[in-house]
Structure formats: C-alpha cells, structure tokens
C-alpha cells in the first residue's frame, strides 16, 4: 500500500477531535464524505491532512451539505468499503433523514458526533440536543467522556458495526469543546495494533461486486415495511450488546483499558447516584469521591457508555440498592421530562428497586457544570434517600440565571 505508517509516542497530548482523526487514519478509512461544522470539523480536516501527507490512502469527498455528506457515505458504504464522517448540531439535524436510510440499509458507517446545542438561538458549544435527536435513528450510539475514550471507542465502533452479524451504523459521541477541543494525554495504539484490532473491511452485498448485482434502498409497501423495521429492531435489541461486550473484552486484552456498556463508579454501596453522559460523568465521579470523604454521603455515578441500544438490563443491575437517583439531562426537554429521566423511569417502574428519581436539566449551550452544582445535587439526592420520597420538584434546572426553574 502506498502510504506511510506514523510513529506515535506511547502517550500523545491530543484533543478529542484529533484523537478521533487519528483513529480514522489508523483503521484506514476508505472514504470520508464530509461537510464542516463547529466543533467537529477538525476530525475530517485531520483525515484530509493525513491523506495529503500520505499517511492514509482513501478518498475525501468534501461535499456541499451534511445531508450530502451522509448521502455520499451511504453510497460509498453500499459500494463496499470502510466509511466514516463527523458532524455536530445543525449538521446532524440536516443529516437526520439519511441517518434512518443508512441504518435501514444496514450500512456500517461510523459517524463521529461532537455534541453541540441546536439552534435557535444559535450556539456552537456542547450539549446533548443533537445526540438525543439521534435516539430513534437505528444507529448504535457510543458515548465518550474524554479524548482517550473518543479515540478508543472509534476502534470499538468500527469493529462492532462492521461485524456481519450486526451491520449497523454507529455514532461515537464526544462533548463539543469539553472533549473535542480539550487536550489530554491519550495512550496510543501503534498503527499495526489499531488496524489489526479492527481488521480488514469485509464487504457484504457490495455494489462494486460486479458479478453479483444488488438493489439497495427499495420501496416497501404496508405488507413488508413492518417486518423489515422489526428485523432491524430485533438485531439492535439482541445482537449488538454481545458484540460490544466481545469488542470491549478484546480491547481490554490489547490495551488494558476496560470499557463497560454501563460504567459504574462506586455504586456497590452507593445510597445515591447520578446518571449522566459525556464529560459530566467524570466530573461527577470526582465530586462523588469528595462527597464520600467530606460529607459522608455514599455517592456513586452511573455513566451511560452505550446510549443506543438502551442498556435496560445493565442499568437495572447498576441501580440495585440505590435509594435516590438523579437523571442529568444536558438537553432542553421542551415540554417533558428529560430523556434520561424517562428512560430510567421505564426501568424503575417494574423493578423491585424503589429509588426516588429526580431530573436535573443542566449545561445547555455549553454552560459549565461545576463541582459546586454537583455537590448540591448529591446533597438533594441524599435528602430524597433519607425521606424515601422526593424532597424537591421532580425536574430542576441548574446553572441557569434568574428565578429558580422547577416543575412537578
């Protein structure tokens, strides 16, 4: 192959975007079809630069919109090769139509989503509005909390998505700016290790197999549509988690880094816990330790590593014995409870666990989630646990200026 390998230090100081770009290089993505949008742009710029410098061999399609970006990815993926792109926010929203088409056609495209708020009003900073918009799109959604994970989860995502038993597209999420533009130490894989872990792309129903013509993207009437959608749902519900577990195990063997579908921090004896996504998980872990040391509150944290498929049983296991749970949603719920609250409520309602569940809306448009905020939350959860019922409104906005916002 006509490209050079890159010598990496054991630890590189990379931001989340560059870490993801390096992963795309190391797995030798064949086609990237992309459109720039803050804060995800550096990922595809990175691939383009690696291409320009001869560190990867492939095609970079710089198209005229995110809709076209995913359309190009779909065509390229159906043609039969490794495909990836990146986007955020409005770009993600513009892509939504094609997201459903990619998953419905069972094309293993990897989309790096650098989470960002949705306008209006316009905001380039990180919250989970775009991530939540992808919930029903039929994609696997991995969530990273720091640049190391943004790097690692790309390898996991390719391995799982491209598995012929799975054949579903996957998103790797990282928090806009808080991860994407924050440089931290990243333990690297060598180019050979990384490529070896994911393996060579194995085509399936590839359009470029000229001796076996295939038709992709058919029309189904009422007599077929339900069955096809049911099949896709079934595979998401039953086939994805075992493959992710397998990939996590293989990755741990290779790197020593252990990932879990649901990450639990100090939950074994926890009385109270928050459930969160993204960088907030780690900040919460630091605060939970401090709550234990300074306040004697048995605090724990549950981090959702795989947001779709929703890890119902894993969470049911994780919350055992916890008396008060706080669902931390970083997206404007716009007239409902937050998504994490609702999904957790769905787990609790038929379980023997009787945790008090409350909802915190925080961090919209990149608003800082401070340790002070989290301390308050843990204290409120402790009060709920002691009372055995909510002592606050069920939904509270934290970190917003003006009169307190709380509902129900």
């Amino acid at each position: 192959m006509a490209f050079d390998k890159m010598e990496l230090n054991e630890i590189e100081v990379w931001d989340g975007n560059f870490a993801a770009a390096q992963a795309l290089r190391q797995v030798q993505v064949d086609v990237v079809s992309a459109y720039p949008i803050t804060p995800s742009t550096p990922i595809v710029e990175g691939y383009a630069k690696f291409l320009a410098d001869g560190y990867v061999e492939g095609e970079f399609m710089m198209v005229e919109s995110e809709h076209a970006a995913m359309s190009g990815c779909i065509g390229a993926s159906a043609a039969g090769g490794r495909v990836a792109t990146a986007t955020s926010s409005q770009g993600f929203a513009l892509m939504v139509e094609t997201l459903y088409q990619a998953s419905g056609m069972r094309l293993p495209i990897i989309l790096n989503v650098v989470n960002r708020a949705l306008a209006a009003p316009l905001n380039v900073n990180g919250d989970h509005s775009d991530m939540y918009l992808g919930r029903d799109s039929g994609w696997i959604q991995f969530d990273s909390y720091n640049p190391q994970q943004a790097y690692d989860l790309n390898f996991i995502a390719f391995k799982v998505a491209e598995d012929h038993e799975v054949r579903l597209p996957a998103m790797v999420h990282q928090d806009g700016f808080m991860t994407s533009h924050t440089a931290q130490g990243v333990k690297t894989l060598s180019d050979d290790e990384a490529y070896g872990f994911v393996g060579e792309f194995k085509p399936m129903n590839d359009m470029l197999d000229l001796e076996n013509p295939v038709t992709h993207g058919v029309q189904t009437e009422e007599d077929w549509h339900f069955e096809h959608k049911a099949r896709q749902h079934h595979d998401l519900m039953t086939k994805v988690f075992p493959k992710i577990e397998e990939a996590f195990d293989a990755f741990e063997k290779l790197t020593g880094r252990k990932y879990n579908i649901v990450e639990e921090y100090m939950t074994d004896d926890a009385e109270v816990a928050v459930v969160a996504l993204g960088t907030s998980v780690e900040t919460a872990v630091e605060v939970a330790k401090e709550m234990r040391e300074q306040e004697g509150i048995k605090a724990g944290v549950i981090g959702i590593r795989v947001f779709r498929p929703w890890p119902f049983e894993y969470i049911a296991e994780a919350i055992k014995g916890i008396k008060a749970l706080g669902a931390l949603d970083r997206s404007s719920p716009n007239g409902a409870m937050g998504a994490l609250y609702n999904e957790l409520a769905g787990i609790l309602v038929n379980s023997d666990e009787k945790a008090v569940l409350t909802n915190y809306i925080y961090g919209l448009g990149g608003r800082d989630l401070t340790k002070a905020h989290l301390k308050e939350i843990f204290k409120e959860l402790k009060a709920n646990a002691d009372a055995g019922k909510p002592t606050t409104e069920l939904q509270q906005f934290i970190g917003v200026r003006g009169p307190k916002l709380a509902y129900l």
Binding site: L107, P213, T215, V218, H228, R231
Partner: protein, 133 residues
C-alpha cells in the same frame, strides 16, 4: 423467494435484493434466456393482467427494422440476432407503442382484444393500405 407470508426473520437484512442467483459474468453480453434470474427479479413476474388489448406479431410483413424493440418500454419485444421473434406476453402491458412505430404496410404488429386467438388474428390480417395523396 420472499413472499408476503414470510415473517420478519426470514429474509435478508437491509431489504436488499439480488438480481441473480449466484454470480454472473458479462451480463451485458448474456441474453435473458441464459441468465440465472433470482426469484426477486421482476423478470420472473408478470404484468399480463394489466392488458386489455395485446399486440399480435405477423412475421410475414416484418422487415426487422427493430423500431418495436427499441421503443418498447417493457422489454417485451424479443429480438435475437437482429431478428424480431415475437412479443413477451409476461411483460407486455399493452401500450401499443410497438404498433404505432411499426413502419410496414400493412403493419406487422396490430392490437387485438386480449382473448383473441393468434392464428385467427393473423388469418384476418388487413391488406396493404393505399397511401392517400
């Protein structure tokens, strides 16, 4: 093949369809009768019931000009080795374009009621028309 009594677990993922059963080389040089069509290829289906009238071919007048072949929307004119052989009644929808574009006098293709007997039709074929000046 997939039929609509099948359950969700009985067909290929992604609603993907194959044109042929097994590999085929040089498709563009392989006539239809030599192809191993998949049951999901519409070649294996029929739209005969769409017709009210059908074109009947009378080879006595045919000059093998191939206008009917090129202008047939439904790949229903069977031509092999530059010779017009007849109409594929599984795929003909009865649009009558072939009849319209037939340049012979009398025409080599004419529309008849669907139930018309081919031999009888040919027996009753019209005479050459004198061109009006």
């Amino acid at each position: 093949m997939a039929d609509n009594t099948m359950g969700w677990d009985e067909f290929e993922i992604g609603a993907m369809l194959r044109s042929f059963d097994g590999p085929i080389k040089d498709i563009a040089l392989t006539p239809q009768e030599e192809r191993n069509y998949s049951p999901n290829n519409s070649f294996t289906a029929s739209v005969a019931d769409w017709r009210i009238e059908k074109p009947i071919f009378n080879k006595d007048y045919c000059i093998d000009c191939q206008f009917c072949w090129i202008y047939c929307p439904d790949v229903s004119i069977v031509s092999r080795d530059k010779k017009m052989l007849g109409v594929d009644y599984d795929h003909c929808k009865g649009c009558a374009i072939c009849v319209e574009v037939c340049p012979t006098n009398p025409k080599s293709l004419l529309m008849f009621p669907e139930q018309e007997d081919e031999e009888a039709a040919i027996a009753s074929w019209p005479e050459k028309e004198e061109k009006e000046k």
